[in-house]
Amino acid sequence: MNTFECSYDSLAEVDTKQLYRAMFSSPLRMEVQANAGRIQQEGRESYRITYSGWEEDYKVSCLPENLMQIVASWPAVASLLFVDIKLSDFDLTTVSTLKRCGVWPRRIEAERQPASIIEHAKRLDDNGFVDAALDIVYDKVDTLLGKGEFEEVDALLKSVDPSSLSIDILLGLLTSSLPARTKLPSRGDLFIAVEKEVKRRGRWKNGLLSGLEN
């Protein structure tokens, strides 16, 4: 089995955006999303993350701080990670942060709550990874619609506060839900709210929402 490794040994030398860029540049990103990863502790101060692709393992070594950054910046993967170490191997801060990022140690996996894709998308968007954020929105909404879980998608749309999200994410929600618009009663209200919010921000332009109406 071949391996691909990239290591981040010092937080001081790693620019956060550079780290994100490296993670998103992984050629196996799609495969990673379809598979699973493992987090293992290496000694006291570093972690090794192994992403299992179809044919190869991809490994990242990092400090705890970087681990948090990676997990926070890669939520689509984070929700698939299996934490292979015992709970006691993490300090409480680490566990708490991992939980907030949607990664739960196996032993309490049964208690896992669905992570908010809006929060995940917003986090990425705020860090300048707009397209990665949109991928999460499209993947999540499409997957739910494909399962016929219209009520969950409708609840998601209903929960959106347009003032807290970028126009790109708002358009992503409207576009990804467009095909099922007749089954999503809250979508019409969201459309109106988005239109109002766009105008409030002075970002209105012709054609911005064309074709997205209910």
Partner: protein, 232 residues
Amino acid sequence: MSSRAYTASEDSLVHLEHVAVAITVLPERPGQHHVGILHKNESVPEICLLHLAWHNELKNSRPKPTYLWVTPPIPKERARQVAAFCRRVYKVNPSGIPYAFSSASDCFDKQTGEFMAGPNRYGLTCATFVLGVFHSVGLPLVQYATWPKTREGDNEWQRHIIEQLKENGASPEHISHVQSEVGAVRFRPEDVAGASAADSIPTPFEVANGLAEAILAKLKDPGNPAEAGLGD
């Protein structure tokens, strides 16, 4: 028409705002064109060409410099959404999309983005694939009803495709389906590129057809956009 047509050289790709319609001449069949969608992922970052290359061959690869690309008249915020949908379509169609002459409208599953086979949806051409993607995100490129029912050479082209499908091992059932669609309205690659070059969408046939001629002229002579009618 504004200057929104570029050759797909490295230099020109910096102008790409999320998405464009790209057209080229098929080297093995001069006079026959091929069309796809250039889309950018700024998070990676990368620019790929998503196109239906042939029966069950949906490709997403780096564009060759032989392509000419045109930015459709849509806000860049919407163009970013088209790019996101392109990534989704490629992801959920790992087995490709069949090649046939079905309608472009509502060809992707209303829930998953996957190509939707069914009684009237046997497959797409490279051109209807592009139309289908834009249609699915609420941005239809063409006014479908304005297209002529048939043009010189369309039936011959469709029969040629059927022969190619037979030679390349398409199933008898699929060939039978495609044969039943002979005579369907044909949207040519240059029609789609022409529609994308219009000042607004959806584009009626007469406008798209006129712009298609200019685009084909520029494909023949990429160094002379003004002569082709695509310059400033």
